[in-house]
C-alpha cells in the first residue's frame, strides 16, 4: 500500500520534528517549566505511546495525557450500579467489552458474569436491541458509555426501539460530554497547560464551534487533530506555531474528517433523546457540572435509571490511587506509588490502568522500552 508508506514518510516526520524543536526553542512564555500540551483524547494517547512520539519531542515541551478515555473515568459507584443491574434475574446486561474489567468496589462485570449474571459483550447498541428482539421475556439493559463519538449511536438505537415498539429494552446512560470537562480542567487552580490537541472523532460529530470559548475566554490554542502519528506531529507543530506567534485559536488539522459544523443528523438525534445532567461524577476528577447526559423524560420508558432501582452510591476511589493527579497532568503515571506494583493492566486498581487508551496502561505497555521511530 504505497500511500501508507508515503504518509508515514520518515522524511516528513523528521522535518516536522525539526520544526517543532525550532519553535519550542523560540517560545518564551516566561515559565520555569517546559511547555505543556494536553492531548484530550485517549486514542491520541495510544498513538503517542505506540509510535514513541514522546521520545521524539524536545525537552522544552511535554505532553500531558487528558481524560478522554471513557472507560478510565467511570467512577466505581457506577460500576457497582452496572453489577446491581446485571444481577437482576430477568436482566441481560449488554456492554462494550472495554468495560468488563473496570473494578467496582466489590467486583467487576467480568466477575459478576462468572458468578452467574447474564452479561453480554456487544460490539454495538444495535446488537443489544437485537438481543431484546430475540429474548422478549427478558429485560435487556444496554450500558451506554462514551463521549460524543458514541452518543449518537445510542440515541439512534433508542429511537429505533421506540419506532419498533420494543419495550424490553432500556439504557443505563453513562455518556459524558467533552466540553464541560475541558472547562473543568481549565478552571483547575493547579492547571499548568499551554494548549490542546483536540479530539478527532468527537469533533467530527460536534464540529468546531463548541471549542471557541477555550480560545476566547481562556486564551489557549486548540488544534483538532487526526490519529496518524504524522497527524499528531503536525497538530503539535500547529499548537506551537500559535504559541510562538502569540495567537490562541481553534484550528483544524483533521479537515479530511472533521467538517466545521460537525454532523447534523447525529447532533439532532442526541438532542432529541438526551439532556444535560446537573453534574456527573468522574473517577479521579470528582463531580463536574453538566458533564454527563441522561435520557429525556419523553423517553422515560427506555431509561434504566427510572425502570430499575439501582444503588446509586458514591464510592471513593481507592486511597492509594492517584488517577486524578495523573489526569490533570500534575504527576506522571510512574510517580504514582502503586504504578506497576499493585496496579497493573492484569489487576488494575485505578481506571487509567484498565484500557489501552488509559495513560497508565500506555506507560506500562510502551513506556519501559524505547520504540523505533516510524520508518526507521
Amino acid at each position: 500500500m504505497k500511500y501508507v508508506d508515503e504518509f508515514r514518510d520518515p522524511g516528513k516526520a523528521a522535518s516536522l520534528i525539526k520544526r517543532i524543536e525550532e519553535l519550542a526553542r523560540k517560545i518564551d512564555l516566561g515559565q520555569a517549566r517546559p511547555l505543556h500540551i494536553m492531548e484530550v483524547c485517549g486514542g491520541h494517547t495510544h498513538t503517542i505511546f505506540r509510535y514513541g512520539i514522546k521520545q521524539m519531542l524536545p525537552e522544552a515541551m511535554e505532553l500531558v495525557h487528558g481524560p478522554g478515555c471513557p472507560v478510565c473515568v467511570l467512577p466505581m459507584g457506577r460500576v457497582d450500579d452496572c453489577v446491581a443491574l446485571a444481577e437482576h434475574p430477568e436482566v441481560i446486561f449488554a456492554t462494550f467489552g472495554d468495560a468488563m474489567r473496570v473494578p467496582g468496589s466489590k467486583k467487576s462485570l467480568l466477575q459478576a458474569r462468572a458468578e452467574g449474571a447474564d452479561v453480554r459483550m456487544v460490539y454495538s447498541p444495535l446488537d443489544a436491541l437485537d438481543l431484546a428482539r430475540r429474548h422478549p421475556a427478558r429485560e435487556v439493559v444496554f450500558f451506554g458509555l462514551g463521549f460524543e463519538t458514541t452518543m449518537p449511536s445510542t440515541a439512534l438505537t433508542l429511537l429505533q426501539a421506540e419506532r419498533e415498539g420494543i419495550r424490553n429494552f432500556s439504557l443505563f446512560c453513562n455518556h459524558i460530554t467533552i466540553i464541560p470537562t475541558i472547562k473543568a480542567i481549565l478552571e483547575s487552580p493547579d492547571l499548568e497547560l499551554d494548549g490542546f490537541i483536540g479530539p478527532g472523532h468527537v469533533s467530527m460529530i460536534i464540529g468546531m464551534q463548541p471549542y471557541r470559548f477555550i480560545a476566547e475566554q481562556y486564551q489557549k490554542p486548540l488544534v483538532i487533530t487526526g490519529f496518524e502519528p504524522l497527524d499528531i506531529l503536525q497538530g503539535i507543530w500547529m499548537v506551537l506555531k500559535q504559541l510562538a506567534e502569540g495567537r490562541h485559536e481553534i484550528e483544524n488539522q483533521y479537515q479530511r474528517i472533521v467538517p466545521e459544523e460537525g454532523n447534523r443528523t447525529a447532533q439532532d438525534a442526541v438532542n432529541r433523546v438526551f439532556e444535560l445532567r446537573e453534574f456527573f461524577e468522574w473517577r479521579g476528577l470528582g463531580s463536574i457540572d453538566h458533564s454527563g447526559v441522561r435520557v429525556r423524560k419523553e423517553y422515560a420508558w427506555y431509561d434504566a435509571e427510572r425502570r430499575f432501582s439501582i444503588p446509586n452510591l458514591k464510592i471513593a476511589d481507592p486511597k492509594a490511587c492517584e488517577c486524578g493527579d495523573v489526569l490533570k497532568g500534575i504527576i506522571k503515571p510512574r510517580e504514582c506509588k502503586v504504578f506497576g506494583t499493585s496496579c497493573t493492566p492484569e489487576t488494575p486498581l485505578g481506571a487509567l490502568m484498565v484500557s489501552s487508551e488509559g495513560a497508565c496502561a500506555a506507560y506500562y505497555t510502551y513506556g519501559r522500552t524505547e520504540i523505533a521511530k516510524p520508518g526507521v
Binding site: M1, Y3, V4, F7, C41, G42, G43, H46, T47, R50, G68, P70, V71, A94, F96, G97, D98, D118, R120, M121, V122, Y123, S124, P125, L126, D127, A128, D130, L131, L145, G146, F147, T149, T150, P152, S153, L156, T157, Q160, R163, P199, H201, V202, M204, I205, F227, E228, R256, I257, N263, T265, A266, A269, S356, E357
Partner: protein
C-alpha cells in the same frame, strides 16, 4: 471505541430504517447509515461507499486511501483483531 474502523457498504438492506450491510476487512455485518445520508446522498446511493464505522454506525464517508491508512493504523495499534472479534462474537453468552 473512539477510533472506529473503515468498511465498504455492499448492500442497502433496509432503506427506510437506514440499515446496510458493510464489509470490514472481510467481516460482514449490518450497520446503521442514518448519519451519512441526506437528500443529496440517499440511502439507495450508498452502495460502494467507504465509511468510518463506530460501534455499528457509519459516521462519515471517507475515500479509499483514507480507509486504507486507517486500517493500517489500527493494525499497528493492535486494535484491529479486537474490533473484528467484537463484531464476530457480539451478544453471545459465552463470548
Amino acid at each position: 471505541m473512539c477510533l472506529g474502523i473503515p468498511g465498504k457498504i455492499v448492500q442497502v438492506t433496509d432503506p427506510e430504517n437506514k440499515l446496510a450491510l458493510v464489509d470490514v476487512a472481510g467481516v460482514r455485518r449490518q450497520i446503521n447509515i442514518a448519519c451519512i445520508v441526506d437528500e443529496s446522498h440517499p440511502a439507495e446511493s450508498c452502495v460502494g461507499d467507504w465509511v468510518l464505522v463506530h460501534v455499528g454506525f457509519a459516521m462519515i464517508r471517507v475515500d479509499e486511501n483514507e480507509a486504507a491508512k486507517t486500517l493500517a493504523l489500527l493494525e499497528e495499534l493492535g486494535n484491529m483483531q479486537d474490533e473484528l472479534d467484537a463484531m464476530r462474537h457480539s451478544g453471545r453468552p459465552d463470548a
